[in-house]
């Protein structure tokens, strides 16, 4: 497959044809904050709205995960407009996040912590009220403990479940602000294809999913 080279922040990088700009930048060690994107995704959900970049010739910042690489691209990943959108998105996510890092399994490896450090903002956003969902813990699943107030609804768990088992055993339910993960009410382990599969836990960027059976 042919490689395409293009310019990011005054650097020339190259990537295979058909790759997304986000994937190419990450491969070249140019960090762009992201939560919902995973390597190898053909159609990223583009739902976390963090991976904004500015492309020369475009009026507004665009998401890097949805943009295939092209040779004429001139990309900037750190303009004020990009940072403003990224910071707002992260603040919004944090305004519904139960910040209690000390007791969280994702502490030190959490994408939210990492992104907040990268963007230089605190974990408790000012000027925004904080909202919590009820219940705090959803433990209806036979193997999983889900914490909606940690979840960022990136959809990685759904994506990995579908690619591992042919169909997703996790989905999103309800609408708007009340959107939560659901397990289709599968409380019985017999409904599940592989009881020892922990793919969803492994890909969760924030520790919203935990195994009931310990590490």
């Amino acid at each position: 497959m042919s490689r395409i080279s293009f310019q990011v922040n005054d650097r020339k990088i190259s990537a295979p044809e058909g790759m997304s700009l986000l994937g190419a930048c990450l491969n070249a060690d140019i960090h762009i904050p992201h939560l919902c994107y995973m390597e190898g995704m053909t159609e990223p959900p583009a739902s976390c709205r963090l991976c904004f970049v500015e492309i020369e010739g475009r009026r507004e910042p665009v998401t890097a995960c949805t943009l295939p690489v092209r040779s004429d691209l001139k990309v900037r990943t750190d303009t004020p407009a990009v940072r403003r959108l990224q910071r707002t998105a992260l603040r919004l996510l944090l305004s519904v996040h139960h910040v209690d890092c000390k007791h969280c399994i994702a502490n030190y490896k959490c994408e939210l912590q990492r992104t907040a450090r990268f963007l230089g903002i605190g974990l408790k956003p000012k000027h925004l009220d904080h909202y919590s969902k009820e219940p705090e813990v959803d433990d209806t699943h036979p193997h999983l403990i889900h914490r909606p107030n940690r979840c960022v609804l990136c959809g990685r768990c759904i994506h990995i479940c579908e690619s591992r088992h042919g169909r997703a055993y996790i989905a999103m339910a309800r609408r708007g602000f009340d959107t939560v993960l659901t397990f289709y009410g599968s409380t019985d382990a017999i409904d599940l294809p592989a009881p020892d599969c922990t793919a969803c836990i492994d890909v969760c960027p924030v520790g919203a999913l935990e195994s009931k059976h310990g590490e």
């Binding site: 709205r49 609804l153 959809g155 708007g176 602000f177």
Partner: protein
């Protein structure tokens, strides 16, 4: 393209046309009066079914040889239920009657149909110019409109395919089927038709892209109309479904699709029924299905019901929903014309866009271009609602000003109140003040003003409206209807709503307005789909044009429109209150009205829920109940420690029936 002459019509079409014309002739030969009743959802809601029943009863009882002709919606919501009586033997032209209750229906059947007395006091107008009765065309609500896409609405029976064919229906399709698809697209491109779903994308260009795309193609009619206060797509489907189907078939031929779908919301049960029946009729008549009109071209059409998510009106959300998934929009590109339903190239057009097609193909691109403006040719259909005298569906050429639409055509603001604002384009549109009344209505001017054409909802607001509260209402709607996928829309819209709710409750804080602006701007830029990208429009426009109103809410706790309940209070003007009158006290649901020591009335502000019942109850000659904002301006009247005996409390009055 010149109108097709008779030679160019197919044998199959000519046969259908003959049957249709024969049926018309039979009706004409039978003679007798015809009663046209508007039986679309709007008419039914106003009681048209009861009206029809009343007519049926009287006709049967008194053996009057009249025919009831169910029609769709004429668009005159203020006049529903609408009945047009065509009684040729009486010597009168067809007469338009408004608000025909069952009682009125029985009276008209007896006096007009039997005795030939049209009851002038109930006549709204005649449908044709004549010497006896003023014609409806003398009213600007009728004469200033220019009906193109709604030409047949309210005149034909939506359940009768023959009536549509007799009016020249499916003639355009017949001609198109023997044209090269490229030629069809050329005509549509030349006409300058832009998508009527809201964004105004050139229809011809969309089709061209679909035609050149590779794969098994599909066309879909988007009838998932969901804006609050917008109902023109429903009215068109309920009044003239075959015109939409014909448009869909034309679109399918141009794009090279063998399959079509109609995505309609299930909250429109009557429209679903009518379009499903229309598809069946067309299939049986050979207008859909295999080998349409003997042309060798196939088109299978299925009706798909949406399940009530507003966001499924967005085309990628609609596709997800049709595929059986959660209705969540995805990133575009790829656009549906290159990758849509099940990965196939999919053309999605709005109901109105499709309904224009038979007319454009029949009358030519030049004719369409002669209407409207250069960049927005054709007409626009608006559902004008809110504080106007004559609400309803209005079809006007593009380029007419808002002032003409609201004041000249729809009769202006009722009750001698002043105009305050107009919300165009529903929850995605903007709130425009009086200074914008003279801008022409077209895609580009409205977008420039910060509003948008949207699907055509237009809410007029009088001076007693609080724009903050209106913004809150629309945000509440979009916030609930967000699919929850992307961060900005899911969480951002909730924060916006929360700030607006706070302001309307009198708990606004310093910096709230700046926060609203900042957040709105980011949501607009950062959201994934059109819903999120347009959701802050009501806030951004109202903040731009009515900022002082927001400021008075936050700084003075005052609501100039007197709409925000926590910021207002009721009191009774003791100068005007009549001694011994109990009108307000008896209607108060919380017993907040008490009798003062002077036997006048006072309102206990702690118990009052500010429902406004007392304002309605107070006799106009006293007009003593006042509403003020901020709430602390209401004079405090002490409730007497001992209840003063009022007229209603006296035993002899209590017994009164």
């Amino acid at each position: 393209m010149s109108p097709p002459d008779k030679r160019s019509r197919s044998a199959a079409y000519l046969a259908l046309q003959e049957t249709a014309l024969q049926e018309q002739e039979e009706h004409a030969e039978t003679g007798g009066p015809v009663i046209h009743i508007g039986l679309a959802t709007c008419g039914i809601a106003a009681g048209a079914l009861e009206t029809r029943h009343a007519f049926e009863q009287v006709l049967a009882e008194r053996k009057i040889p009249a025919r009831i002709h169910p029609v769709g919606c004429l668009g005159h919501c203020y006049a529903e239920p609408v009945v047009i009586i065509d009684h040729p033997d009486s010597g009168f032209p067809p007469i338009f009657y408004h608000e025909v209750t069952p009682g009125k229906a029985k009276m008209l059947a007896r006096l007009f149909l039997e005795e030939g007395d049209p009851r002038f006091e109930h006549v709204y107008g005649a449908m044709k110019p004549n010497d006896l009765i003023p014609s409806v065309m003398e009213f600007s609500r009728f004469s200033r409109e220019h009906r193109v896409v709604m030409e047949k609405c309210g005149r034909i029976d939506p359940g009768d395919l023959n009536e549509y064919i007799a009016e020249g229906g499916y003639r355009a399709l017949d001609a198109v089927l023997r044209m090269d698809p490229g030629q069809v697209i050329e005509t549509v491109t030349a006409s300058g038709l832009r998508g009527r779903g809201g964004a105004g994308f050139p229809t011809g260009l969309k089709w061209e892209r679909a035609r050149t795309a590779f794969g098994d193609k599909l066309v879909i009619c988007n009838a998932d109309e969901g804006d609050p206060g917008a109902y023109m797509d429903r009215a068109i489907i309920e009044s003239d479904p075959h015109q939409v189907l014909e448009g869909l078939a034309i679109c399918a031929h141009a794009a090279g699709a063998g399959e079509g779908g109609i995505y309609i919301r299930s909250e429109y049960p009557l429209a679903v029924r009518i379009i499903t029946r229309a598809v069946e009729q067309a299939r049986q008549a050979g207008l859909l299905g295999k080998n349409i009109l003997g042309s060798g071209i196939d088109l299978e059409v299925t009706v798909f019901q949406g399940s009530g998510a507003f966001v499924c009106g967005e085309e990628t959300g609609l596709i997800q929903s049709m595929e059986g998934r959660r209705g969540m929009p995805r990133h575009r590109p790829p656009y549906p014309v290159s990758r849509g339903f099940q990965g196939r190239p999919t053309v999605i057009n709005n109901v109105k866009t499709l309904a224009y097609l038979p007319l454009i193909l029949q009358r030519g691109a030049e004719w369409f271009r002669s209407l409207g403006t250069e960049h927005s040719p054709g007409t626009a259909v608006f559902s004008v609602v809110g504080d106007v005298v004559h609400p309803g569906l209005v079809e006007i050429p593009m380029g007419v000003t808002l002032r003409t639409l609201i004041f000249d055509i729809c009769g202006g603001i009722p009750k001698h109140k002043g105009f305050k604002a107009v919300q165009i384009g529903g929850p995605s549109g903007g709130c425009l003040p009086e200074s914008f009344l003279d801008i022409p209505i077209d895609f580009d001017s409205l977008t420039e003003a910060g509003a948008m054409m949207g699907s055509g909802g237009l809410v007029v607001m009088d001076e007693a409206t609080c724009v903050v509260n209106v913004s809150r209402y629309f945000l509440d709607f979009t916030q609930k209807e967000s699919c929850g996928k992307c961060t900005f829309c899911r969480i951002g819209a909730r924060h916006l709503l929360d700030i607006l709710t706070r302001i309307t409750c009198g708990n606004g804080r310093d910096g709230d307005l700046e926060q609203l602006e900042r957040l709105s701007r980011d949501i607009k830029q950062g959201s994934l789909c059109g819903l999120g990208r347009t959701a802050p429009n009501p806030i951004l426009t109202s903040l731009a044009y009515f900022r002082e109103e927001y400021e008075t809410h936050v700084q003075d706790g005052r609501c100039p429109g007197m709409m925000c309940r926590p910021l207002t209070a009721f009191y009774i003007d003791l100068e005007k209150c009549a001694r011994g009158c109990d009108a307000c006290a008896t209607c108060c649901p919380t017993d907040a009205v008490f009798t003062t020591s002077t036997r006048k009335k006072g309102i206990d502000l702690d118990t009052c829920v500010k429902c406004g019942e007392c304002v309605t109850a107070c006799p106009p000659e006293y007009d003593a109940v006042r509403r003020v904002s901020p709430a602390h301006l209401a004079p405090v009247v002490e409730r007497p420690a001992e209840p003063v005996e009022s007229a209603a409390d006296k035993p002899e009055n209590r017994e009164a029936p």
